[in-house]
Amino acid sequence: MMADAASRDEDVILAVRNLSIALPGKDGPALLVDDVSFDVRAHEVFGIVGESGSGKSLTMLAVLGLLPPPLRMVSGSVKLRGRELSGLSFEEMRSIRGKSMAIVFQDPMTTLNPVLRVGAQIGEAVQLHNPGMSKQDVRNRVIELLTLVGIPNPQQRYRQYPNEFSGGMRQRVVIAMAMANEPDLLIADEPTTALDVTIQAQVMRVLAEVRRRTGAAMVLITHDLGLVAETAERMAVMYGGRMMEQAPAHALFNDPAHPYTAGLIASLPRVDREVRELFSIPGFVPDSAHRPGGCVFHPRCGLANDRAICRERRPEVAATSPGRSVACHFNDETAPWRAAQERAMERPVEARAPSVADDSEPILRVVDLRKEFQIGFSLFGFGRKLPALRDVSFDLIKGRTLSVVGESGCGKSTLARVLLRLLEATGGDVFINGEPFMQMSGPLLRARRRNLQVVFQDPYSSLDPRMTIHEVVAEPLRIHGRYDAKRVDDLLAHVGMPPQTGRRRPSELSGGQRQRVAIARSLALNPDILILDEAVSALDVSIQAQIINLLKSLQAEFGLTYIFISHNLSVVRHISDDVIVMYLGHIVEHGPVRRVFETPAHPYTQALLSSIPHPQSGEESRRKRIILTGDLPNPLAPPTGCAFRTRCFRAAAECERHEPALTARTGADHLSACHFAGQTATARAPGDEG
């Protein structure tokens, strides 16, 4: 294996050799992880990336000895500082877990026990490995740990319950627990996937800080290539349970040796450039029971070209240069192939078609739309009001794509539901093709609903599990009494699904296929406007690119107007014409995509844009990062004046007194709501990363 030669043995903290994990089944065991080897050296960050089902999390669970039955490690060895772990008893493993190795899981909501005080939970982690420690010492140690992860007022926080912590703060608590015994190795399994980008930046900084203090090595497991590129020194790419490639992080991104890695990188939309069409890896991730023979990637590979060797012989992981290894028969061909892909994707500068004449009547006009939720009821009917949308106004021209971005809780999904009339607005008007949509009711409303259709985020719950795919797509037609089997087949064909798929049920399809079905259903009634509510967020990177390309081609074909709701700014940059940025129910910035991304006017937009990790820029973007302090304020008691001022790096006395209006401050079509709109982020930003 590669690492043996390249590094001295004493440097290696974790050595995994030929690890295989099997799931016993009727037709023999299925290998979920197949012959994986890697080393983690002292003090380094080792990134493992892969799509769902690649086996990246299972590998690390096996290292920890936490494989859930009936999964079993069938071969291989795991050595921690030279000590073999694979044969150890449960008791022996327990003395290692939490002391020499610790893990941070994805979801801080479920990692913490809701009925135990935070201090007690961290104290438990301390005491497990220091049974003799006095109560007072444990307490002091916990407060020290809380301080280490940057939790303000640790003395008071010590006595609080997890539900009194925000998501980002909970993840800090989990990190504090993991660091309780200063392990040599920290395993972070998607540590920020459940968090917003601005909070993600905070948590990653905390992780960097605790590692700097304790010198722990870290394995970072993630599907987010940008995040791993910024954080890791060396990385591994896994696919279908096998190791595809290992390399230093910058080398991997600038010069990927495996066609899968190259494809993944090419299929990522990027904030810093525009491309005509995303590259997408064809097909879908095979499930573990039906993996193809030979090279596991060959059916989707751009290099395989149906060559027999790819189908028949499994490529061994081979070192190509010191510190790099790859499992591909034709890795020499990756670089030229990639260059060809890059050329094909490159967008001619004037490419984006100018919008239909600007004086044309907007297809959708939203005027002062408001939505308040009643929270709780008292005897006299005065519940508290939670304002989710405040005076939201915008116009949308036919054929364009408007994106709505913002962190969770900003009101973007509420906006979608109010527009769809799944929730009733508290005030304001919406006009579709000039008709007032909010006043409609009964049969007229049901008839007009077809103008506005939706694709939801979760491909698992958007299709009725008891219907066949044909029935799902036929449903809107049946509702309006216009069922036509041929039209259903046509719709399926438009989203790239053969008509035979109609006989299958949702549970037989993959996430990407289900999302295609959901899109076909939303097109059945020939809508004018399609709301895409995080429609690609739940999908794997390679599948996400397929769906984005599909959406763009459908838009061109049918002249659809999109409202694209997303927290993924790179995707937004790629797909939209105009962008709305929301914060606490307000629109804080609205303008053409290029203006908003290149010269963001509002400090919130500037912070959002700077928090996106992206693969190529590395160090440079890290230095310019604006890390917002704190969390979203309590929406029940929003700050006076400008809602953003509590987290704003540019806040002044004026912001407390006057709420800035949304007006054109930096150009006619570029609206923003900030007293200091347009000042560049670097001018006064407290940027640097710890």
């Binding site: 049901r446 599990p465 799902v472």
Partner: protein
């Protein structure tokens, strides 16, 4: 095939044997649940009367064949159970779906009714009502059904509350589906499998309830036999002829326990709701 542990297998087999017994017995030559024979009063199990007639499971005070009466009583109980379960299933699912889908005052009214009904002891209510309308097999099924819809209603409402927020229901609404459409096409099919599990559990409860009423003399009326009534009749001869009360009790036990184990097995069968399996 579902997996069962040993106890479940035993109870379910006993239940199957008893059902077979209830079906087959009427075709046997000696089948005669009503015929009285004063020469054959209180014959013990396997004994014969003075006039030489053989009673496999003995006879009662009037010399009626207990084997035949047990089988007929079983049929009566099953019939009442099936009738009552159907009534309560239809009423409960309907009210539960309506309450869960429309929310608001309608939900408050329906669930309030359910709470009200639970607060009145059911046997007391049944005694009062059956005293007024008079006991008959049909009345009994209807009464038992109308008083046991609450379990279905609650479960159906609970499931509807979460289903109505699922994206496939929302998306049908945005396509212009009416409430009736959503309830019929999306909610009912997804709720029904769970309801059948509730029904298998409730069936046993209904059988016990019918037995209790008949025991009190308010259920099935003589000469039609019922297990509850047979226990009640046999009780006076507990010392002299214990099988009179014990045999129908055993039958009742097998029926209820068997159903209970069966419904347990259904429940643990896992994905009964057709909910998607989230495999990555």
């Amino acid at each position: 095939m579902m997996r069962m542990d040993l106890g479940t297998k035993l109870m379910v087999s006993l239940l199957a044997i008893m059902i077979a017994f209830m079906i087959v017995t009427p075709f046997l030559p000696f089948y005669d649940p009503y015929g009285q024979n004063l020469a054959g009063s209180l014959v013990p199990i396997g004994g014969a009367s003075f006039d030489g007639r053989l009673y496999l499971l003995g006879s009662d005070t009037l010399g009626r064949d207990i084997l035949s009466r047990l089988a007929l009583a079983g049929q009566v109980s099953t019939l009442i159970g099936l009738g009552a379960v159907s009534v309560s299933l239809v009423v409960g699912v309907f009210l539960g779906l309506v309450a869960g889908y429309f929310r608001g005052p309608l939900e408050a009214a329906i669930m309030g009714l359910a709470d009200l009904q639970l607060s009145i002891p059911r046997v007391l209510l049944l005694i009062a009502v059956s005293a007024i309308v008079g006991p008959s097999v049909a009345n009994l099924a209807l009464l038992l059904g109308l008083t046991s819809w609450v379990s279905y209603g609650r479960v159906a409402r609970g499931m509807t509350l979460s289903l109505r927020e699922r994206e496939f229901v929302l998306s049908a609404r945005t396509q212009g589906a009416t409430a009736a459409w959503n309830i019929r096409k999306h909610l009912l099919p997804n709720v029904l499998p769970q309801m059948l599990i509730v029904a298998s559990y409730e069936f046993g409860q209904i059988v016990v309830m019918e037995a209790s009423l008949s025991y009190l003399g308010l259920g099935v009326q003589p000469p039609l036999p019922s297990w509850g009534m047979m226990v009640s009749e046999g009780q006076s001869y507990l010392a002299l002829a214990p099988h009179l009360a014990i045999l129908p009790s055993i039958a009742l036990f097998i029926m209820v326990a068997g159903l209970q184990f069966l419904s347990q097995a259904f429940t643990s069968e896992g994905d009964v709701t057709g909910a998607p399996q989230r495999t990555p």
